[in-house]
Amino acid sequence: MIEFHLDGRSGVAPYLQLIHQVRHALRLGMLHEGDQLPKVKDVAAGLAINPNTVLKAYRELEYEGLAAARPGIGTFVTGTLDGGSLAAHGPLRRDLQRWLAKARRAGLDDESIEALFASTFRSAAEEDIA
């Protein structure tokens, strides 16, 4: 079972934050097909948010084919987002850890590492388009 959190300052609508967190968990293999999503009541009570917000997020996930409601029981994951690539995560994560260690040895702080990653990511994406 995943646990939701809310960033009040992000400016992203709360229901979208919930959707992002489910998608994120699916991508990282923390949620699998058949897993139950937290009950609407528990999310509303846990985060002190309107239950309609949770319902809206779950409906949206149903619409995307990622979840399905079983009346009286709850909402369950029905799709995946890892595209079968989950097996590759381990080696890639290890490469990334080695790279991170190298970056720190070179004296980069967290912010510089994030900025370098983001700008490389963007320029690589632009080359792909060009």
């Binding site: 009040g8 400016g11 609508a13 009541k41 509303a44 009570a45 309107n50 239950p51």
Partner: protein
């Protein structure tokens, strides 16, 4: 849209002073409705009339289709938590629950006991010695366990510390999810409202400035910034709520149903706080102009 509260020209006068005048509004069912406005807007007066704690001087009000406090049946349908969560200081927590059994036809004793247990309140403790947060939770328990269709909360979290506030709202949202009751609550804490409310009413000087589902309000209001210019040059259908100008730049908060396509404007999303402040300052500006016009020549 069925209304849980419907008023028409509602007014309340205390001696010579009108605390609420000519207030016409409609609160939809099935929502958690946030009522915001400056101090003195008439929020407390409106809510206490709706709860049947006092009678209006003028106009009409219907609550769940009936007259407030018209009889025992009507009283049982509405839960009301006044400011500062009044409880009986000399009675224990358990005494309060006993009172609840005797005073409310639909009292849910299991729910009340369960909540008191989860809150870790000592049933034998006198309410007067509880912390402010615990007192608010006790009062909320009483209001919820009577199983109302409509729960009216006047500034329920204003005096609570951040943790107690969060716990109070958690309990409230849990009850909304479980019982599907309609809620109207007044508050100045827009951050809280953003989480718990799905419908907003901005009330300034007894007048509704804007009302609607929070999501629709956020989708139809935008913040525009760009080179200084006359707001009159905006296309039709764009309503300026609030504008500020420097020599170089104009910043407008507008309401529009369609997208703003003019490339001269940088369009950004508004937060609920931006929106509330814009309507409050718009109304304040209007009343200032109104007073100026009234000055005799």
């Amino acid at each position: 849209m069925t209304a849980v509260i419907q008023t028409q020209g509602l007014g309340k006068r205390y001696r010579r002073l009108w605390a609420l005048s000519d207030c016409t509004l409609s609160v939809p069912a099935g929502h958690v409705v946030g009522l915001v406005g400056p101090n003195g807007a008439g929020k407390t007066t409106l809510l206490s009339i709706a709860a049947g704690m006092q009678a209006p001087t003028a106009g009409t009000i219907e609550v769940l289709g009936g007259r407030p406090a018209a009889g025992a049946a009507q009283l049982a349908r509405v839960g009301y938590l006044a400011q500062d969560a009044p409880v009986y200081a000399r009675l224990s927590v358990a005494d309060h629950l006993k009172l609840g059994v005797h005073l409310n036809p639909a009292w849910d004793a299991g729910l009340a006991r369960g909540r008191i247990g989860r809150l870790d309140l000592d049933p034998g403790q006198r309410a007067g010695t509880l912390s402010v947060g615990q007192r608010a939770q006790l009062a909320l328990t009483l209001a919820i366990a009577k199983r109302p269709e409509l729960l009216i909360l006047d500034e329920p979290v204003a005096s609570l510390d951040p943790l107690a506030r969060r716990q109070f709202l958690q309990g409230l949202m849990e009850s909304v999810a479980e019982q599907g009751l309609s809620v109207v609550l007044s508050s100045h804490l827009v951050g809280d409202l953003e989480r718990v409310c799905d419908y907003l009413i901005v009330l300034v000087a007894s007048r509704v400035q804007v009302a609607g589902p929070v999501e629709d309000l956020l989708a139809t209001h935008h913040l525009l910034s760009g080179p200084r210019r006359d707001p009159g040059s905006l296309p039709g259908g764009v309503q300026v709520i609030c504008a500020s100008h420097t020599d170089m730049q104009s910043t407008l908060l507008v309401r529009t149903s369609g997208p703003v396509l003019d490339p001269a404007w940088t369009v950004s999303e508004v937060t609920l706080e931006d929106l509330v402040l814009a309507y409050m300052s718009q109304a304040a500006g209007r009343s200032r102009r109104h007073h100026l016009e009234e000055v005799p020549k």
